[in-house]
């Protein structure tokens, strides 16, 4: 995988991880307003990064969650366990 693509993918992993950890916190702390705000802030950042990634490198997800270029790019290699990080 080329450096620019990998770099963007790693950034997406970082921001998504932030959202995941905050998500688990919010599940037990539903009234934490600051946490909800922070979650939405990073969620928006995440969606922007994914849009950027998918524009150049193809879909990150299936079943309607991401669009695809032609020909259908979902099937493309490399798959996540094959990438040299």
């Amino acid at each position: 995988m080329e450096i620019a693509q990998l770099s963007l993918l790693k950034k997406i992993m970082e921001i998504e991880f932030f959202c995941i950890d905050l998500n688990l916190y919010l599940d037990t702390h539903c009234q934490d307003q600051k946490a909800v705000q922070d979650y939405n802030f990073y969620s928006e950042q995440l969606n922007n990064l994914k849009e950027q990634y998918e524009k150049f490198y193809g879909p990150l997800s299936v079943f309607g969650y991401s669009k695809s270029q032609f020909p259908w790019k979902w099937v493309d290699d490399p798959w996540p366990w094959e990438i040299e990080y």
């Binding site: 995941i20 688990l24 916190y25 037990t28 539903c30 366990w81 990438i83």
Partner: protein
């Protein structure tokens, strides 16, 4: 409903050809305290959780465990990739290779297949959550053993990430127990 994302949760790397580790890592794939057990345990317990909050925690942590399952598979895949059969045999992976080649299968370190006997779902929120807390500690402990077993800094790095996630999950299950207790106590007053 589950959606798959074509990326790992964590950039899992392997730096050395420590083939033996593949055999030990399988413990966290198909073993009693591994990620498959965790994912299936939480996913099936969630149906009989009493509150939206507890259903959310079980669903979300269960989903994250599937992502961890993928990370373990990735480490094993990378450790076995291109390794000649002679070396697999020498490093104690001959039995595994017989049955599975370089395929990744749900078994423990001895080759015993995964079983639902590793998990329980009792429709008793205290029993279920307490089991979940125990499961997270057992997983954390196994990751510490695995960290001790390798000197590959890249594998250690991924194992440290997975270990820390177990600590966070323990905290969340503990908090869920408290929230569910609050819920039941609030129902006593009307």
């Amino acid at each position: 409903m589950w959606i798959y994302e074509k990326k790992l949760q964590y950039p899992a790397r392997v730096c050395k050809a420590d083939v033996k580790m593949a055999k030990y890592l399988i413990a966290q794939y198909g073993g009693p305290d591994g990620e498959l057990a965790a994912a299936l345990r939480y996913q099936t317990q969630r149906y009989t959780m009493p509150t939206g909050q507890s259903k959310a925690t079980l669903t979300d942590i269960g989903t994250e465990e599937f992502a961890h399952l993928e990370i373990i598979a990735t480490l094993v895949f990378k450790l076995l990739k291109g390794v000649p059969v002679e070396i697999l045999k020498r490093e104690g992976l001959g039995e595994n290779y017989t049955e599975h080649g370089r395929g990744i299968f749900y078994s423990d370190t001895t080759g015993m297949p995964w079983t639902a006997s590793y998990i329980q779902c009792k429709d008793d929120v205290i029993a279920d959550l307490t089991e979940d807390m125990a499961a997270e500690e057992k997983a954390r402990s196994t990751y510490e053993h695995l960290i001790n077993l390798t000197d590959d800094p890249c594998v250690k790095d991924t194992l440290k990430f997975l270990r820390e996630r177990e600590i966070v999950h323990f905290q969340r299950f503990g908090e869920t127990l408290g929230r569910v207790r609050e819920f039941y106590e609030s129902k006593k007053f009307y």
